[in-house]
Amino acid sequence: MINFDNSATTFPKPASVRNAVSLAVGRFGGNPGRGGHKLSREAAEQVYITREKAAALFSADVENVAFTANCTYALNMAIKGILQYGGHTVISSLEHNSAARPVANLAQYRGVTYSIAKADEDDDKTIENFKSLIKEDTKCIICTAGSNVTGQITPYKRLAKLCNERGIAFICDCAQASGVIDITLDDGIDFICTSGHKGLYGPAGTGLLITNGKFPLSTIIEGGTGATSAELEQTPFLPERLESGTVNTPGIMGLGRGIDFVRQKGTKRIREHEQMLCSVLTNALKKHGNITVYRSEKASYLPIVSFNIGSYHSAAVTEYLGRRGFALRGGLQCSALAHHTLGTLETGVVRFSPSAFNTGQQVNMLIAEIDKIAAGRVSL
């Protein structure tokens, strides 16, 4: 099976990631930060090493890097930690459910209000859309750096600047952007939420919540942190405050190697390779009059291509491609807002998302199958 669904999770992983997970399970089996014995200290050292790597990648202080189970957890922790029981937020029209649902839940049960700013192809319009919706009680802006449906890159740096000027927090979903663009706290972002298992090539079950420390977070999960154990109150300082319970040492060690992989290759090189594969596909798709590609000349994109063939439902297309050995994602990609914006709620889209491991030859094989569908040589 050739994986072109790397936006969901990258596969395969680098051999070094697999080896680190194996090493963690076989050798670093202590509970990090939970004892004075050698097993615990050695595991803690390994966790700390990955924390340092993530801090360097995102220009953060090491203690401001918290490990989470995935990006959804990181977003929930940041969103609920800032909004708590009231206030207003502005989110983009491209948000994944991992950001939109926590906001909707807060609106339903905790008196939070929210507005949705249209992410336009024109960045100036996007900024104006956000600006016009900021109110006196707005606590934060929540925006993806790049859509997981179309790959459209938002003006996240300008949004960060806007938030800084207004003294509100900027929470950025970097799940799709991490590892392909150099996105860091230096861009002015207050909370970087990202998965570890996508563009950072770590194992599933890893994510990161990274902050510049400007906005204290209330917690949504409390428990044992290995620190301040005599107190009933949750540990006040990071990262332990946000890491209740035993952390995922094998995942974290694997993530450390994934970050090494990204840094060694370089985000620019990875992005250029993946963009080249996207261009090969897009050019082939455009030869068919009955294929819609969801890209605009005016916008810039992460290496993701979304399309539909004729009137086929996207799931029918991906099912056929799956039978032919290609993993692509159909349906709504857990992003109802983005599909509402695109007008594709009924059909969904077929999403192609390559990784550093995909090749041009693989893309050509995929194109041959897509050609068959578009030309009506196979019926779905």
Binding site: G33, Y48, E52, V62, E63, T225, A227, T228
Partner: protein
């Protein structure tokens, strides 16, 4: 060599301190806070250099710490 114990707020800050001190060529180990010297699950830096000097370096580097606990046995 006689060692001193400096109580730290967390394992992460203890690791950060250890890295910083090691980078300056200073000996440092992370040990569990002895039960007769502290409550809860604390960690200490075990250092051979004058603890006041270590405290100065911690503060200079913005690393939170608690107090100097004792001069430990070798």
């Amino acid at each position: 060599m006689p060692k001193s114990l400096i109580a730290m707020t967390s394992i992460t800050y203890a690791m950060k301190a250890k890295r910083m001190l090691n980078n300056k060529g200073l000996y440092c180990e992370i040990v569990r806070t002895p039960k007769n010297l502290g409550s809860g699950c604390g960690y200490c830096l075990s250092v051979t250099k004058e603890p006041a000097e270590i405290i100065r370096l911690l503060e200079q580097n913005g690393i939170p710490h608690k107090n100097i606990l004792s001069r430990a046995q070798d």
